[in-house]
């Protein structure tokens, strides 16, 4: 399967009477876009803001971030959620570099899913979204809309916007084209047969919180009864997997630019053979956890024939153990593993970093502590949180977990916890 991402770099985003890409300047008709998004009866009011790198601006109440992408040649955009259900991961997809769509959550409960983005100051450098031009969507639920439906509507608005913006590159000559091409897993050319076969085990949701009916995660499926399954890495890069509504330190943007899949592609055919991706969910009960762990290991070892596997998690503590259990089952089948963990300590002690100790699960990379305090310096403008803007303008205390894009559990970030 072959996927081409045609990148058009953007270094300026402005409000304009028509939405178009003029060289590296993206002009957006904000009124027209608002009208497009207002068609959703679950939303009553929509506000759009632009926030630029270097501006003393804080985006608050961040719910998710989406990378602008649009399919060409009749491909479906975000299939199963925005577009019709169809296979993703092949053909040509338009991508804008330097631009992100930021969806905010205007309901006050569930503070754990909310975060901020600083466009200037020391925290801007910690997050990919401090360096992108951001189109910020604030939308309010219509009176009868329930929480899950509201979040589904907000996410859909972000996806529509992402397609709308990337569509401007349809006539443009891309600045560069990334080609992702991986043959069917067993077909290794004899001269590369010596390379170790490496699989990626991607936990895409945690059932710590049940998904809503419209909380499409895998091709629009809310993965309520999902068992481990194999997908082509291109499907993940091309909109088949979206983040659910529990947003702890994972964005849809990071999944669309999946760092682990990119890292494995970068080494494919050189130091390793990329054997494929197994998607899993973190389960809620012990029998489900064990079943999922050995089925995952079986797919990695027996179906993909992998010698090694890297694993990432989503959510909090239970998925952390769930992932390690899958890694332990892989090790038991002779598959070497490394896993990406968060520092799970809630009191900053090294003893609390890990919640498991399984044989063979001894090669761990960490994405830092989301609980470590961080100072948010004073800003001149707050977008996405009009009602609490005054609280967020001045110097504020937060945590790394509250800084969207500082910690991406799929491995996109450089923050790590060091034992001192």
């Amino acid at each position: 399967m072959r996927l081409e991402l045609g990148w058009s770099d953007v270094d300026e985003v402005t409000a304009a009477p028509a939405t178009r890409l003029a060289g590296k300047r993206l002009e957006v008709d904000l009124d027209g876009l608002r009208e497009l998004l207002s068609a959703d009866p679950r939303l009553t009011r929509i506000r759009l803001d632009l926030a630029h790198p270097g501006e003393r601006c804080r985006i608050a109440r961040v719910f998710d971030v989406v990378a602008p992408r649009a399919k060409t040649d009749g491909g479906e955009d975000f299939p199963g959620v925005l577009g019709s259900v169809a296979r993703a991961g092949h053909g040509r997809t338009l991508a804008l570099g330097g631009v992100a769509v930021v969806a905010t959550d205007q309901q006050t409960d569930n503070v754990g899913t909310l975060a901020v983005i600083d466009m200037a100051g020391p925290n801007a450098a910690l997050s990919a979204f401090g360096r992108t031009h951001n189109l910020v969507i604030s939308a309010w639920p219509s009176p009868s809309t329930e929480r899950s439906d509201y979040l589904a509507a907000v996410r859909l608005a972000a996806l529509k916007t992402a397609v709308h913006l990337a569509g401007t590159a349809r006539e443009a000559e891309p600045n560069r084209v990334d080609v992702f091409e991986l043959p069917p897993s067993p077909r290794v050319p004899p001269e590369l047969a010596h390379l170790p076969r490496v699989a990626y085990v991607f936990q895409i949701h945690s059932h710590q919180r049940p998904t809503g009916l419209d909380e499409g995660i895998l091709y629009g499926d809310p993965v309520r009864r999902m068992l481990p399954t194999i997908v082509h890495p291109n499907e993940v890069l091309d909109g088949a997997v979206l983040r659910g509504f529990m947003g702890r330190s994972v964005t849809t943007w990071a999944i669309q630019n999946h760092p682990m899949i990119r890292a494995l592609y970068a080494q494919h055919g050189r130091t390793l053979w990329f054997a494929g991706v197994v998607v899993t969910v973190a389960q809620a009960t012990e029998p489900e956890r064990v079943r999922s762990a050995f089925l995952t290991a079986g797919l990695v070892a027996h179906a993909l024939g992998a010698d090694g596997a890297v694993l990432t998690k989503i959510g909090g503590g239970a998925p952390h153990v769930d992932m390690a259990q899958a890694a332990a089952h892989c090790e038991a089948l002779g598959v070497k593993t490394t896993a990406v963990v968060e520092d799970m300590s809630t009191d900053g002690s090294a003893e609390g970093m890990l919640l498991f100790d399984f044989p063979g699960v001894d090669a761990l990379v960490n994405v830092g502590s989301s609980q470590e305090p961080i100072i948010l310096p004073a800003m001149e403008r707050v977008v996405g949180a009009d009602d609490i803007a005054s609280k967020l303008l001045g110097e504020t205390r937060a945590t790394y977990g509250g800084l969207c894009g500082a910690i991406e559990q799929v491995g996109a970030t450089r923050v790590m916890a060091e034992v001192r």
Binding site: Q208, V310, T346, E351, A363, A417, V419
Partner: protein, 351 residues
């Protein structure tokens, strides 16, 4: 003393304070103005950056045999000299001395709010006892190279006293304090994970970024009675609480647990219970609390004589993002109460 230089107090044992050898190990705390004995090396290392205003000395045996009293007396001697920094030792491999240095540093930090630093050999028992609370610089076993060892203590001590950022243990030569700190790595986590896997696959050495937890193994005790004669208690970290959560057990990172009577109850009425746990989907437990705390089945077993008695109190807390220290404390307290109540065995249900 020049303005802006730091006031430093040194702590030494009888040997390094030049009172004498083992025959003087029983002497109590005393203070000398300025730098004496090994404290002269501290003054030399400080140069113009600070002045050793006093040297506090105590015999090793006195400090070891009446530790609390010695520490309290030493703290008041240190306090009287109004230092900005306390340099204790270095104690090298001397065990009693090392422990005394650690204890004094902890007390001085807490009570006098001053910076402290000490130094020891890796095998000094003071390291394991105090490295989490105190910066302990790694030294050799013996005082053969006093000045260079002291220079490293003083360099770290000055940074601490000035409130400067402290780097990684390897950079300053101190024992890891067992605390974590976010830093920015040279490559993203995905690239590091793939590189580590390739090393592991090739049989090359690799360094995990998270040490494996060194939990002491807890052996399950053998039940000495038959079940038919035993009193069984139900304990859970799954968050079951009476409606209204009377003990205010936290939804995560709990510091509290509750003890709830089930006297006279053959089962738990779902309407009377709730669950604040934020680490799992509590829908099913709220619908039927027995899915978490099986009072119904336990009562049947009690009726049929399969177990001797069901303990009339259930214990419950929320086990999510709970610190190891809090978990250990709550576990110990619950275990003590159960033992005092004559409970023989416990069914622990987790989620």
């Amino acid at each position: 003393m020049a303005a802006g230089t730091l006031r430093v107090v040194c702590y030494l044992n009888q040997f390094f304070g030049q009172l004498g050898g083992e025959e003087k190990a029983g002497v109590g705390p005393q203070v000398v103005d300025g730098a004496v004995g090994a404290a002269r090396a501290v003054q030399q290392a400080l140069g113009d950056a600070g002045t050793v205003v006093a040297t506090v000395i105590c015999g090793d045996n006195y400090a070891a045999e009446q530790a609390e009293r010695a520490t309290a007396e030493l703290v008041s001697l240190v306090a009287a000299a109004r230092p900005d920094l306390l340099v204790a030792g270095p104690a090298f491999l001397a065990g009693r001395y090392g422990v005394a240095c650690g204890a004094l540093c902890v007390a001085a930090q807490a009570e006098l709010k001053i910076a402290t630093v000490t130094g020891m050999h890796a095998e000094n028992p003071g390291v394991e006892l105090y490295r989490r609370q105190v910066y302990v610089v790694q030294t050799g076993a013996e005082a053969t190279r006093m000045l260079p060892e002291v220079q490293r203590l003083v360099a770290l001590g000055l940074k601490l006293a000035r409130g400067e950022a402290i780097g990684a243990p390897a950079a300053h030569g101190y024992f890891a304090r067992g605390v974590t700190r976010n830093i920015v790595a040279g490559a993203n986590a995905a690239d590091r994970a793939v590189a580590m896997l390739l090393d592991k696959l090739a049989g090359r050495a690799f360094t995990t970024e998270v040490p494996r937890p060194a939990f002491p193994p807890v052996a399950a005790p053998r039940l000495v009675k038959t079940l038919a004669g035993a009193t069984i208690a139900l304990v859970t970290d799954g968050g079951l609480v009476p409606r209204g959560n009377p003990d205010g057990i936290e939804a995560l990172n709990a510091t509290r647990y509750g003890a709830y009577s089930i006297e006279g109850k053959s089962s738990l009425d779902a309407a009377q219970y709730d669950n604040p746990h934020r680490g799992y989907d509590t829908t099913w437990v709220k619908q039927d609390p027995h899915r978490l705390v099986p009072v119904d089945v336990a009562r049947e077993l009690e009726q049929s004589g399969a177990i001797g008695k069901l303990h009339e109190t259930i214990y419950s807390t929320v086990g999510v993002a709970t610190t190891l220290a809090q978990s250990a404390r709550m576990g110990r307290e619950i275990a003590e109460k159960l033992r005092a109540a004559g409970v023989d065995a416990v069914i622990l249900t987790s989620t």
